[in-house]
Symmetry: C2
Subunit: 186 residues, 2 copies
């Protein structure tokens, strides 16, 4: 069965600092037409950063769309100046975490919400961390604090509903899986 | 450290069929101001639906924002007429899958991309499925096909980069975890 939709026309609604919004008119597989509201969002990188005590780094920050402070893995937008998603992640781990890491691996990549948005996120794992004497500054409008949690603590926070961010729940579940399968880097 | 931002004003940019877009001016913890682009999106439900052969149901559909056919767990928006996220999921499993299920549990809930959007997704697990003789119709602009995959097949698809949807990767990882920990319903 052919499932493809074909864009017939695109109307630009908004060009913002972070996102752009278009409304597309598409032709459906049955030749009818429909509209699709499409948000364009930069790609991002996030990381499962584990220290020598087997604790994962999370950051607390205010998220205005849901009007609450969240606990999330360090993550950030991939800037045009970042050569690769990994380079972006190393920069963000410096800025948000204040750490560098000697061991890195790519875990997975995915679209956050493909029904309406093209944001892609690259998820990494790193360990063998070194605290930086001179970390890079955060963005001017960015405020956050850091905390470290063991897998047991993370699973307790999850069961209490205190972690609500999709990529962070995926990161914890993947890390748990790596440990259950004995796949973690030593 | 106080991380909270306070909305000073909100400008409505767009009210669509699916999403609304506002630009908020907020005061930051340091008393400076910044703008936040905020997408309002209905909440949704998704399901890990497992049949008696221990295969998970996925649906294939076109996703215009990323211009490709994706493999995703059955999922859908929670309508105003749905009493609960679970009721919405039972309706979607009927519409998209053509099945009902005798056993249900809630797995987790999360915000898809809290940095710019308020979409919340409720993830369920179900099994003990019955194929429906008279399934509900899909929405007029919805076209999809169904397929069943074992965990081994899903992990192969993941490693080949053929599953790119965040909630589906989380669903597979959670199901793998349930099986590794011997927690699956029998």
């Amino acid at each position: 069965m052919n499932l493809e939709e074909k864009a017939l026309s695109t109307k630009q609604i908004f060009q913002g600092r972070l996102i752009d919004l278009n409304v597309e008119t598409v032709s459906l597989p049955n030749e009818e037409t429909a509209t699709r509201e499409v948000v364009h969002h930069p790609n991002a990188s996030g990381v499962i950063a584990v220290n020598d005590e087997k604790k994962m780094l999370l950051v607390k920050q205010w998220r205005e769309p849901i009007k609450q402070v969240t606990l999330e893995i360090p993550a950030g937008l991939i800037d045009p100046t970042d050569a690769t998603p990994l380079e972006a992640m190393k920069r963000e781990l410096n800025e948000e975490g204040g750490y560098s890491a000697a061991y890195w691996e790519k875990v997975t990549e995915f679209y956050s919400s493909a029904g309406f948005c093209d944001e892609k996120l690259y998820l990494f794992y790193c360990d063998t961390l070194t605290k930086l004497e001179n970390k890079r500054p955060l963005d001017d409008d960015e405020f956050l604090t850091r905390a470290w949690y063991s897998l047991d603590e993370l699973q307790q926070l999850l069961s209490q509903g205190k972690i609500v961010d999709a990529k962070t729940i995926l990161a914890i579940t993947m890390w748990s899986n790596m440990l259950l399968q004995g796949k973690q880097h030593e």
